[in-house]
Structures are given as structure tokens and as C-alpha cells.
């Protein structure tokens, strides 16, 4: 994979369009730590999962992990 292709793939991951599993596989089975380092080299942020649709899941986990707050 060329540098441009790698950067394009990492940009897609950074925007949460592809999974980290896809990135690791495409880059030859690198580790998650390597992915983090490659993102850092290119000043790309870690993907922030979209909030929409996830509030319910986070609220359910909050109720389980911090029951007094729920």
C-alpha cells in the first residue's frame, strides 16, 4: 500500500467510516498501538463514535456501572 493509500485509509478510520479491524488488516496485521502511532504521525484524531443512537447504550451501561446515578 502506498503512503497516499495508507493516509487515505487512516483518514477514513479517523472519521469512523471503517473499523480499526479493517485498518489493521489492510496494513498487514499491525497492532492497535501501531494504528494509534500512525494516526499521531499524520495528526489525525482517534475516531469519535457518532453520538446519535448510542445514548441509549451509554445510559444502559451507566445504570449498570453506576446504579446510584441512574
Amino acid at each position: 500500500m502506498t503512503e497516499a493509500q495508507t493516509t487515505a485509509l487512516l483518514k477514513r478510520y479517523s472519521k469512523a467510516y471503517v473499523s480499526v479491524a479493517d485498518v489493521r488488516h489492510a496494513l498487514g496485521g499491525i497492532t492497535f498501538g501501531d494504528v494509534l502511532t500512525e494516526l499521531a504521525k499524520r495528526d489525525l484524531p482517534l475516531p469519535r463514535a457518532p453520538e446519535a443512537g448510542r445514548e441509549q447504550r451509554i445510559a444502559a451501561a451507566r445504570a449498570v456501572l453506576f446504579p446510584k446515578a441512574a
Binding site: G29, T31, F32, L36, L46, I58, A60, R62, V64, P67
Partner: protein
Amino acid sequence: MSRPRASLFVLDTGPLITLAAADSLDYLLYPNVPVVIPDAVFYEATRDSAKLGAQSIIEWVKAHHEQVEIAVTNTYLNFDTARSVNPNAYEPNLGEQASVEVIEEPTRLQGDEKAVLLCEETMVTRRIVVRERERIIELSTMDFLNLLEAEQRIQSADAVFDRALAAGRTPSRVEKFSEHDAALRDAVRETLGTARRVPSGGGRRRRKS
């Protein structure tokens, strides 16, 4: 001792490495529930001491052995046996297979216990066929951090991710780790070996404290 209301299962290396890089592994302990890490996931996160976060993860697991369980799996035992014959043995889905095995153990999720699964690789949870799927909740690292932020246990979830990336930009840190390569390899072996020596006895297999 009564069973916990919930356990936090760390099913792949992503959350461990991100939190380790951000010097924030202790956040996993904030809910005050048992933290379970499959042995193969621990191995994958720490097998190369030059990798980001490896040393922190080993030290953190050793320091918190009362709260953190390294769960023994046949998947990892089989891999370790294969590796003793062929040191170059490689299993691409080792952590994933071990995670599925841990969650599906019949002794897990007793009573009304819930499982919060922390993972980045969504394919892990797709493969899990637990008896009562509604009892598991899957979270990404950012979900977990957002939860802690909502709970006012941390100031900013985004800041944790920023710290992790900042660590990735610091090669001197990686070089420092590699100086201790042999000692770290021994520490990984010792941690996994201790987990294995504890007899299962039909219950949970925990690391010896």
C-alpha cells in the same frame, strides 16, 4: 462473597492501549466492578514491549490484581502450546477467539449479573452467542469515557484521546520501553503463568493474588 452486579470485560487491545497511552488505565476501575481481560488480549497488548502502552499495561495489571482478572482460555493455552513447538506460530484472531470463549463460559453471568463489553473491534461481539444477549452492553472506549464524563468522574473524554495521540507522537517513549525488553517479556510470561496455575474448580479462573 456475593456476586457482583456487573463485570467489565475488556475484549480487545484497543481500550487497553488507548488508556495506557493516555496514562488513564485506572479509569477502568472507577465503576468499582471486576475487570476481566482474556489472557490472549493481555498477551497481544503486551507481547512486544516496544509497543505503545505495553509496559504500563503490565504494571497496571500487577498493581491491581485484586480487581483485574486475567481470564484463562483454551484458545490461548493451545496457541502457547503451538508456539512452544514453533516459535513463529501466529494466530491472527487470537484475542477475538479468546474473548468469545470468556464471555460464553457457563460460569459467567450468573443470577442477574450484567456484562459491559469494552471493545473497538465490533466483530468480537457479533460472534458472541450468549444465553441472554440483553444482559450484555457493548461500549467503545469513547462510549466508556463519555459515560465517565457524564458521571463527572473525569473532566473530558476528548482530552483522554488527545493524550493517547500525544503519546503516539513521542518516539523517545517507545525507545525507552525497548531498553527493558527482556524484563518486560519475563513480566508478561509471569503474569500469564500465574493466571494458569490457579485451578479452575468449576468456578472462575482468576489470577493468583
